[in-house]
């Protein structure tokens, strides 16, 4: 039985999703089952490897975006009674590019080495975080952006919706449609439940934004700048409505508070503190 479920989120870019699927198939098939969730793609743009298709009217029109998209996939796995079969979930957006080599085993080994890590994010050579990490190093952060996360099931079980989780609430808060600060919310929930979030340079990623910048029409999504504007506007509203926070800095300090407290409980892990 494979320990890892890799879930690829796709919207109307079958060639891109197929390439990513085949990359995992060629390099990591022994370690992971691979699923593709179609986030409201049109029928002609479904990946040939797709597993689930969110095809109700609203999803076809607006997509699910990453919070609802991964929630949907996870809820399908639960429904199919497969959720407990996996120890780890690799949540991957379709515009993420990896090195052409096996990576899942490396990520699993890292999770085994760091039993209090709930979320592990590969690092990008274009991220400033790399200056805090040496080559092949993993450290714990209070802030990490969701691009592709390797998530421990036990962590998920501690923070996920309890009753009949759906695409709106399985892991991410689906009310936060475009996901601004949805990642930091999960990090906070993690530290509050004794689970750290780590970034590792043992696996490297690159987010290929050219799809969003040049193929937004094909993806049936908002143009890049318009999307960023909406991400911020809707995200700020969500932050205010849910937490009464008026600034991204508030939720950041909130996260830092739980992060510092985590190391008070686990001083032996301080060597992984940034």
């Amino acid at each position: 039985m494979k320990k890892v479920a890799t879930i690829i989120l796709n919207r109307n870019l079958p060639d891109v999703a197929n390439r990513l699927y085949e990359k995992f198939q060629n390099n990591d098939a022994k370690e992971t089952d691979i699923f593709i969730v179609e986030s409201g793609s049109s029928k002609k743009n479904l990946s040939k490897h797709y597993t689930w298709w969110a095809n109700w009217e609203d999803s076809l029109e607006h997509g699910l975006r990453y919070p609802r998209g991964f929630n949907y996939a996870l809820s399908k796995l639960l429904e199919e009674k497969k959720f407990k079969s996996y120890d780890y979930y690799f949540l991957v957006c379709n515009d993420v590019e990896f090195e052409q080599k096996p990576i899942i085993k490396t990520l699993v080994n890292e999770m085994i080495k760091h039993p209090r890590v709930g979320i592990l994010s590969p690092c990008s050579p274009l991220w400033g975080e790399k200056i805090l990490l040496s080559k092949n190093e993993t450290k714990y952060f209070w802030y990490a952006q969701f691009i592709s996360w390797f998530v421990r099931r036990e962590y998920m079980e501690d923070v996920m919706a309890l009753e009949k989780p759906t695409y709106m609430d399985f892991l991410f808060d689906g009310e936060n449609f475009r996901g601004y600060e949805a990642d930091i919310e999960l990090i906070i929930k993690g530290y509050a439940n004794d689970w750290a979030t780590a970034i590792t340079t043992k696996v490297l990623i690159n987010e290929n934004e050219t799809y969003l910048k040049t193929r937004a029409d094909l993806m049936k999504t908002d143009p890049y700048d318009e999307n960023l504007r909406k991400v911020l506007k809707e995200g700020k509203k969500w932050l205010r409505t849910k937490y009464g926070f008026n600034s991204r800095w508030t939720i950041n300090l909130y996260s830092k508070f739980f992060y510092d407290q985590f190391f008070e409980y686990y001083p032996e892990l301080s060597k992984y503190k940034v």
């Binding site: 200056i131 950041n252 830092k256 940034v274």
Partner: protein, 387 residues
């Protein structure tokens, strides 16, 4: 005394101290007025290009020499709330040192003379920044060696002149966006070791990277950006990290390039515990825009055009341009405006305009504009008595 003054002010209320770039005579006047009216310590942070010793023929701000500028400020600063500070003192920080292609020894000697005149004139905060070398790139150790030599020299002068000064070290030039935490801690350790060995005071401020960077008329750094900037550490990580390090070493952090940040970002400065922040071009722009608006509103288009041409032709806007900039000529001229305020042609333009504007004092109008701009920082930095 200066150290105690700043510490006791900050102990009374959690705030961020403000360093104001003396962009013009009006800007200096407004700073003195606000510092005295509100009884808040405001630092006037003069770069060597703005104001330098008579030996170097002064600077572009009001054609002041260090000596005349210091006397001007001290005479008007009735309550002693305005702090004279040198910003980015060091070799090749004065244009003459570059133009004359000075060698290292010549440039260091020249920088020492400039510091000596600062101290003699009553400057109380000295920022030592030897990060420029026109003859090649520098390692962190090169910079530290030069910084320590200058630190030692300034202490000697201060002792001889019986002046009390405090120091700021570091630069925003080290690595462009963000200096690494290791480099930051290493530099602090080395300087503190040097100070202990030579029995001189530790620096009081260190320049830290918080994700601020001014280009054109905005702040393009990560502090102001809710989205990731390539190759920059997110401000969400950078800021708490540097604050932790400053607190560990018991040194005040000084943010440079704070201009044009949003009110929201500024309000977070005291909350984060950012001890002080420098703002300069924004005040120059406020005055320039004020002048242009006033003349345009009073149908003095020819004078405006003449002013904008002088400013544009100065090319002082060049270093502020983004790659692939879309800035218009007018915007470029506005950015460079404060550099040409002291040119005789611009003084003449203002004189002509003043003759026509019978009921408005141009300088009072411009001072009000600068004051508004500075007040935004005083409010957000919790420097005003809010109770």
């Amino acid at each position: 005394m200066i150290q105690r003054k700043l510490e006791s002010f900050m102990a009374r209320r959690r705030c961020t101290l403000l360093g104001v770039g003396p962009m013009s005579k009006n800007c200096v006047d407004v700073t003195i007025e606000l510092a005295n009216n509100y009884k808040i310590p405001l630092m006037l942070i003069a770069s060597r290009r703005q104001i330098d010793s008579a030996r170097f023929d002064g600077g572009y701000v009001n054609n002041w020499t260090t000596e005349k500028y210091a006397k001007y400020v001290i005479d008007r600063d009735k309550r002693g709330m305005t702090i004279l500070a040198r910003d980015h003192g060091g070799p090749w920080q004065n244009t003459n040192e570059k133009d004359q292609n000075m060698s290292l020894r010549q440039a260091m000697a020249s920088a020492k003379k400039s510091f000596e005149d600062d101290i003699k004139s009553g400057f109380e905060i000295i920022h030592i920044d030897p990060s420029i070398d026109i003859h090649g790139s520098l390692t962190v150790d090169d910079i530290l060696e030069r910084a320590c030599e200058l630190l030692d020299y300034c202490c000697e002068i201060a002792k001889r002149e019986k002046k009390e000064i405090i120091f700021e070290i570091g630069t925003e030039e080290q690595s462009g966006g963000t200096n690494t935490m290791e480099e930051f801690e290493y530099s602090l350790n080395e300087v503190f070791k040097f100070c202990k060995k030579n029995k001189i005071q530790n620096p009081s401020f260190i320049v830290v990277q918080t994700g601020t960077k001014v280009m054109e008329m905005r702040n393009i750094g990560s502090f102001n950006s809710p989205f990731r900037i390539v190759n920059e550490l997110p401000a969400e990580i950078q800021i708490p990290k540097v604050i932790e390090l400053c607190n560990k070493y018991n040194i005040f952090m000084k943010e440079h390039n704070t201009d044009y940040l949003s009110d929201e970002a500024l309000k977070w400065h005291p909350k984060f515990g950012i001890h002080s922040a420098n703002v300069a071009p924004e005040y120059g722009l406020a005055e320039t825009q004020g002048l242009v608006e006033l003349l345009e509103a009073n149908n003095m288009k020819k004078l405006v055009e003449k002013f904008l041409k002088i400013s544009f032709d100065s090319k002082k806007w060049e270093k502020w341009m983004l790659p692939n900039t879309k800035a218009t000529d007018r915007e470029r001229a506005l950015i460079a405006g404060h550099y040409v305020f002291s040119k005789p042609e611009v003084i003449e333009i203002k004189k002509k305009a003043q003759i026509r504007l019978k009921n408005i004092s141009i300088d009072e109008y411009l001072k009000a504009k600068i004051s508004d701009s500075i007040m935004r920082y005083l409010r957000n930095f919790r420097l005003l008595n809010l109770v």
